[in-house]
């Protein structure tokens, strides 16, 4: 009896503990993570301790690469610098991924796209008060050239180290002479690694880079967040005096927003959390079709099951992407599609033909007509059940997508050896060729153009890029044509043909096209819009509620 009483007591204590933790308004409520406690101490939207005149935004976001902002450290850190409202580029992507002048006023090139002249906007200043001059831009590019090799941001992909740069302060022009023609230089200079920082004035690039963005770092709290303050020299109105950037885990973002610990969060990517946010009249959910495609690489290496095109085709016919993307599990976070490039981009998606629409029985027939047999429900080839090693990792619902695919593959009679691993392990396995399928989520037009992304299927790109070991001379020829042809209409047509070849050859299972999102408390935030390009988070466009 004593034991039973002790058990009941324990259960009651546990219940009391849980009840205590879940209180929203209690003075002792626990923040979602250490960052939240900082946010709370700064007053935030809920605290009444700040003077009424001061406008404060608490922004919960996921920290990539520990939240460092040195653009030459890693790709993530370059993105951070822009996402936190510190750095800006000469150009910026519109929501249709067209590069438009940002710090630049205008741009022109010679006929063969080897010499580009960029005129800077007048009156731009860095957050320390120094004027943005042509000389400063040249200085920034030279710093990129010096520091690029020390990190993994690979800035030479956007501006070759061999490029010659001339600055004319009086005319506010930068002249860039490229070693090789490139008609997309503005797109490349819009990439976050090309942020223009005041490199001669910055002493701590990791945490206190000086840029031209609307906000500047007042205090960096490693692995916790940043306290940002208004850039007093910004060329437009900056709505907030202070922005507390709070690093939150993927699952904590929605909870922190619901609990009022933050005012705004980016990319809530758990469908059930999105449903809660959408059901709450105090919260607003804003999403935009992004430029990311999630897809499973198919390993066509000699000797692997997916070397057989028929099997690949049957797999595509056996997976019902529409049902998956609309399921409660995916919750519309992915828009179903069948090409490697997102349907919202202007590369002729609507003119493409999908010969592998969902039809399980047709898939089975295709297989049995081509040497496969069934032993009960099992798909057999050469006396053994067809078995595929399928890698995936946690993030952007990839594991959920992969498990969904497994259901459909099982229905086709294929045994799946599921390996839910880390992204790093997935890359290693793909490089080594130890996989049949591997699910990934890729940015397709990071520079407004898919050249780099489509290189993944170029036959001689190497096993570290062409993970599928795919080879089609016709595709290679079109790719070469695409990279040397600078006529916009012709390029679109070539890109459309390239996509169709990849579709016809069944090179990948397309999960769908990922949407980016903001969610915010509409009592404290009046306006916040997520952009198609995933680089622009904290900006002067985010405004407090009236």
């Amino acid at each position: 009896m004593k034991r039973i009483l002790a058990l009941i007591l324990c259960v009651l204590m546990l219940a009391a503990l849980i009840a205590g933790c879940s209180g929203k308004d209690g003075g002792g409520s626990t923040p979602a993570n250490p960052g939240s406690s900082d946010s709370g101490s700064n007053g935030g939207s809920n605290g009444g301790s700040k003077p009424a005149a001061e406008k404060v935004l608490n922004f919960g976001l996921e920290a990539f690469s520990d939240g460092l902002i040195n653009p030459m450290n890693q790709t993530n850190t370059a993105w951070n610098c822009m996402r936190y409202g510190v750095g800006e580029c000469l150009f910026k992507f519109s929501d249709s991924m067209v590069p438009e002048p940002w710090l630049a006023e205008s741009v022109s090139s010679n006929d063969d796209f080897t010499v580009w002249t960029i005129t800077l906007r007048d009156g731009i200043k860095f957050s320390n008060g120094d004027a943005l001059t042509a000389g400063k831009v040249k200085e920034a590019f030279e710093w990129i050239r010096t520091e690029g090799p020390n990190g993994t941001a690979s800035p030479q992909k956007y501006l070759p180290y061999e490029a010659e740069i001339a600055a004319d302060d009086a005319a506010r022009t930068i002249t860039i002479t490229l070693p090789k023609a490139d008609n997309n230089l503005p797109g490349k200079l819009a990439y976050p690694a090309m942020e223009i920082l005041n490199v001669s004035a910055t002493t701590d690039f990791d945490y206190h880079a000086i840029g031209t963005g609307p906000y500047m770092v007042k205090e960096a709290k490693p692995r916790v967040g940043y306290t940002m303050v208004k850039n007093p020299y910004y060329y437009a109105d900056v709505p907030y005096d202070t922005v507390n950037i709070v690093f939150l885990g993927l699952e904590a973002k929605a909870s922190a927003l619901q609990a009022g610990q933050v005012d705004l969060v980016e990319n809530v990517s758990i469908p059930s959390n999105i449903a809660l946010i959408q059901a709450d009249s105090n919260l607003t959910y804003d999403s935009a079709p992004g430029v990311r495609t999630a897809f499973s690489w198919m390993n066509m290496m000699e000797g692997r099951p997916l070397n057989d095109k028929v099997l690949r085709q049957a797999i595509l016919m056996a997976i019902d992407n529409e049902t998956i993307s609309k399921s409660n599990t995916i919750g519309g976070m992915y828009k179903a599609g069948f090409s490697v490039l997102p349907s919202n981009l202007d590369f002729g998606y609507n003119n493409l033909n999908n010969p592998y629409k969902y039809d399980l029985e047709a898939a089975k027939k295709l297989l049995t007509d081509n040497g496969y047999t069934y032993d009960g429900d099992k798909l057999m080839k050469d006396g053994a059940q067809v078995t595929l090693v399928y890698y995936s990792y946690d993030g952007r619902l990839l594991n959920e997508m992969t498990e969904s695919h497994e259901l459909y593959l099982n229905a086709l009679g294929i045994k799946v050896e599921l390996k839910e691993s880390t992204s790093g392990d997935c890359w290693d396995q793909m490089g080594a060729g130890n996989f049949d399928l591997c699910n990934n989520n890729w940015t397709t037009v990071g520079t407004g153009d898919p050249t780099e992304y489509m290189y993944n299927w170029y036959s001689t790109a190497g096993d570290a890029i062409n993970f599928s070991r795919y080879s089609n001379p016709e595709y290679d020829k079109l790719y070469d044509e695409y990279t040397s042809n600078f006529d916009t209409a012709a390029r679109k047509e070539i890109m459309q043909k390239m996509q169709q070849i990849l579709i016809d050859d069944a090179v990948a299972i397309i999960d769908g096209y990922w949407s980016s999102s903001f969610a915010y408390n509409n009592k404290t935030v009046g306006e916040a819009h997520i952009h198609t390009a995933d680089y622009y988070w904290l900006s002067s466009e985010i405004k407090p509620a009236a």
């Binding site: 758990i270 059930s272 399921s327 409660n328 599990t329 498990e403 969904s404 599921l418």
Partner: protein
Amino acid sequence: MEKKKNKFLSNKVFVIFGILAILICLVAVFAPQICGDVDPTAGNLAEAIMAPSAAHRFGTDKMGRDIFARVVYGSRSSLSGTLILVAVILVVGTILGIISGYFGGWVDAVIMRIADMMIAFPGLVLAIAVAGILGPSMRNAVIAISLVSWPKYARLARSLVMKIRHTDFVAAAQVTGSKTGYMLWKYMLPNTITTLVITAATDIGSMMMELAALSFLGFGAQPPTPEWGKMLNDGRTLIQTAPWTMIYPGLAIFITVVVFNMLGDALRDILDPKTE
């Protein structure tokens, strides 16, 4: 023998929780009969995350799989994994402990220093590291927890052996020509096994929790295998909107752990010489 039987049957707690433990085992054995033709691994995305209903008594999970069937079938992997784990650490720990206590000297020093190394780290953390190296699977989770759990049994067996190692009846057996193997089997083991079995019985619950914890963290059973710890993790992100995805596997773990803990406690009460 008759007296012993009465001792077991006269302990109400043992009888009640013994019956419950048998019931749990029967659920595992007769899972296909209980669930009918419902396949715990077969899902339907169109029915994902559905609340409990007549069609799905415990609702469905994120893949549209029937949670009732998964909980019932989950008892197979959870129970078998736990029992194998406890058996492994009992056998390995006991053998090493008896050898260590009986021979002493450098043998004792080597075995005990290895045991000390294992104990020096928090058990679950070391198990996570081992499982991480071996790769995620139920088998590797059992291996990982076994590697960090045997020292407890080895130290216990060693101390029990050392208590009797220099007693007169042991010396007499040696003088009369008993060989080492015979000494270990006939004298050392019988004097330790009762305490070790009691310890193993009381450990079933905690071992089940550890296995579930590893699966929860992604180092144990892999999808679509139904396993309670893994099911808890799968339902974690849905706790606000679809709590049934966590409640039922959580209850299954809770009930099973309580039953086996209470059974172990009752067994200890019956067999522990101190209570005689």
